[in-house]
């Protein structure tokens, strides 16, 4: 299949990934049937993870790996979960994409990977303090279009 990330884009990403620090794990969830964008998303992530050795990718099927999907609260495909990796330990960061991260969302994914790797959020002190003291689960869903 044709490369999704052309040479120029791949070069730019490699440059951006120069500042990566700690390993990052990407979990891809797809489905063999009735999933329009699963193949393309999986290919994009495969090409992306090949650009830097600190980036790890695991491929899962929503049905066949139902336990993993449940663990990461994935219920639709294609989905990507961003986690940090410490040896064999994968630490869920609560960050998920539902749908192919194309266009602007691709930049979001790249930025998320960099933040996760540097283990920083870039948020202000007041925001961080409030979020860290939350005692109830909070679910944020951001609807976007990949244009």
């Amino acid at each position: 299949m044709e490369q999704l990330l052309n040479e120029q884009v791949a070069g730019q990403i490699k440059q951006a990934f120069a500042e990566l620090a700690n390993p990052v794990q990407l979990l891809f969830f797809g489905l063999k049937e009735s999933c329009d964008y699963c193949g393309e998303t999986q290919q994009m992530l495969t090409e992306l993870s090949a650009l830097d050795s600190r980036l790890h990718l695991s491929i899962h099927d929503l049905k066949e790996d139902a336990a993993v999907a449940t663990q990461y609260r994935v219920d639709k495909v294609p989905a990507i979960v961003l986690a940090s990796k410490n040896g064999d330990q994968v630490i869920d960061l609560g960050v998920q994409f539902s749908g192919i991260p194309a266009g602007y969302e691709f930049s979001t994914l790249i930025n998320d990977i960099i933040l996760a790797s540097k283990q920083t959020t870039g948020l202000g002190a007041a925001t961080r303090e409030f979020l860290q003291t939350l005692t109830k689960p909070l679910h944020l869903q951001v609807f976007v279009t990949p244009t």
Binding site: R73, L93, T127
Partner: protein, 67 residues
């Protein structure tokens, strides 16, 4: 993405999901998404239409959590 940054701050409590509105129209309809970005807090306890800054998003989250 702001919501993702917030999740990373406290992943045991916060989950942030970027949803492609075109690929998941039923979910978009459920929350009456007409423009993007639109942030839905706790399945509709709060809704932020358009791109919001950190302070505005935080205020909306606080408001939603009180409901």
């Amino acid at each position: 993405m702001l919501a993702h940054q917030m999740a990373m701050e406290n992943p045991s409590m916060i989950r942030a999901e970027a949803v492609d509105a075109m690929e998941f129209p039923e979910l978009s309809d459920q929350f009456s998404v007409q423009g993007v970005p639109q942030t839905v807090i706790d399945s509709g306890k709060g809704i932020v239409v358009g791109a919001a800054g950190e302070a505005q998003m935080l205020a909306e989250i606080k408001r939603a959590l009180q409901n």
